[in-house]
Symmetry: C2
Subunit: 131 residues, 2 copies
């Protein structure tokens, strides 16, 4: 997915997420952007949908929240299976990718003739500092 020119709303949401320490809920983003003219949840959700499509934002299913992608590479190609550790103590989220996991999941789904569209891997626990 080549990264297209972002629209005004998409840029605002992306900036909010990029400058945030941790994940943010859609409604938290909305509140941050009221000064910039945001009035309704849909403005946030629409921007988030696009940003996820472009691979610039990830949704954390177990938190109902969103984070900016921290992959080193740009987003000109699909970056495969994304996994996260999420600290219950400090809220820190770490994104990582692992070829071995991806291969193994591929083998397993293939065995049941399942066609994967999106894989969610989220590990809740405590980081080194909060252990």
């Amino acid at each position: 997915m080549a990264t297209p020119q972002l629209t005004k709303n998409q840029t605002l949401v992306m900036d909010a997420l990029s400058h945030s320490e941790g994940p943010m809920s859609a409604y938290t983003i909305l509140d941050k952007l009221r000064d910039h003219g945001f009035r309704a949840p849909l403005q946030v959700y629409r921007a988030l949908d696009k940003l996820q499509e472009y691979g610039m934002v990830h949704r954390l299913e177990s938190l109902n929240a969103f984070v900016a992608c921290t992959c080193p590479h740009d987003h000109e190609h699909d970056h495969g299976v994304t996994a996260f550790t999420i600290c219950e103590g400090c809220g820190q989220v770490t994104e990582f990718h692992d070829e071995a996991i991806e291969q193994r999941l591929s083998t397993l789904t293939r065995a049941q003739n399942f066609k994967t569209e999106k894989t969610t891997i989220e590990i809740r626990g405590h980081c080194q500092s909060c252990a």
Copy 2:
């Protein structure tokens, strides 16, 4: 986690999930159990919390829904990392466990000194029939 004697409400919720074709939301369960005296969401959520604690029910984070555990073994021990394929077409959910994945995730989290408490793996896509 040894499976204790279930309470009345826990039994009702467990039965509803066991007899369901696929995952159910808490509110769907509530509706199914109105005839049995259920009146409020909390009755469902409280039962679900316990059933999850006992390992008899799993929450699907990406669906905000719940399924009965389909593990062949009983629930007298923790059954480690649980993963699911979820068909977008027919709603079919398949639970599986894989030692290799578990090992690999353990290695990766250990590398960042992360203490895992709960791991979520959910694969959305299409099953053989719905491909």
